[in-house]
């Protein structure tokens, strides 16, 4: 409803923070940039990131399927981004653990989408879950859960 614009249509500070985070994620992290990852969505409830298909990320040259490591990097990256997106202030985080179930190989030639959410946050630890899928969310190729340590250094300052 373009006629009824109000302040809700203007990006507020948190939205701008999310936009800066999205930019920092894809451009400020060398490995994310090397993988060609793109942030599609970044809100406090979840993060959606695209990993475009690239021949240099192939694990099996006979079939052209992506290496599991590229999926690992996608799930690690979007899980960490989900923690950042759920924080109210930016503090450094460190991955404690990441457990991944590989359900099936990614289909060659297609992007893989990573979708992560931070489903619980305590004073010290954030808990995430994520899926990697192709085409539709029903077509899941990998599933992961992770835990992240929140830095205490900056929280005190």
């Amino acid at each position: 409803m373009p006629d009824e614009r109000d302040e809700r249509d203007v990006p507020d500070e948190r939205d701008q923070l999310k936009m800066r985070m999205a930019y920092a994620f894809s451009q400020g992290v060398p490995h994310n940039q090397a993988l060609g990852m793109r942030v599609l969505e970044m809100t406090a409830t979840g993060v959606v990131i695209e990993l475009p298909y690239d021949p240099k990320l192939v694990g099996n040259p006979d079939t052209g399927t992506l290496h599991g490591g590229a999926i690992t990097a996608l799930l690690d990256g979007c899980s960490g981004a989900a923690v950042f997106a759920a924080l109210t202030e930016l503090v450094p985080i460190a991955t404690l653990d990441l457990r991944i179930d590989y359900l099936k190989p990614a289909e060659p030639g297609k992007s893989v989408i990573g979708k992560a959410s931070c489903y619980n946050m305590t004073r010290n630890v954030a808990f995430t879950r994520a899926v990697a899928y192709q085409d539709t969310e029903a077509n899941v190729i990998a599933h992961s859960v992770g835990t992240f340590m929140l830095s205490t250094k900056l929280r005190k300052s």
Partner: protein, 145 residues
């Protein structure tokens, strides 16, 4: 030649690096492999594109996960009598320290080899092997066709 054929040839000629050069993603990460004593050690040569945190700087967690998974797969390919591509079912990585911008080494140890399922433990270290940057365990489906 299929991957399996080339793998069999690489094994016959003890060409460890030939095994790795077959995999584009391994080249992207800068992986090399060499026997050190009776251990197959996989090394991820440092490159700026592996960085996840530019201000520390520290390696991207995904690169350590990929190194650990690769070290396990190379171990399985190398030790197995018949060449079968292992399929990763689960991978669990414990991140113990932030990865410095230097070369990282890893090895996999088979904890159980079954008819269909193989369990592997892995660890990755940098200057000090006694202070690993990450450890992991993985379960692979290894079906002989």
């Amino acid at each position: 030649m299929t991957l399996i054929d080339r793998l069999t040839a690489a094994k016959a000629s003890h060409d460890y690096q030939g095994l790795i050069d077959l995999v584009p993603y391994a080249t992207f990460l800068g992986l090399t492999a060499a026997m050190q004593g009776d251990e197959l050690i996989t090394t991820m040569r440092y490159g700026d594109h592996l960085i996840g945190n530019a201000s520390l700087p520290a390696l991207h967690g995904g690169t350590l996960g990929a190194l650990l998974e690769s070290a396990a797969i190379f171990e399985l390919l190398w030790r197995a009598e018949t060449a079968v591509l292992p399929k990763t079912i689960t991978l669990t990585v414990d991140y113990l320290r932030s990865g410095a911008p230097v070369d990282t080494h890893a090895r996999g140890i088979v904890t159980r080899q079954g008819r269909r399922i193989t369990n592997v433990r892995m660890e990755a270290w940098q200057a000090d092997r006694g202070a690993p940057v990450a450890t992991a365990h993985a379960i692979f489906l290894v079906m002989r066709s």
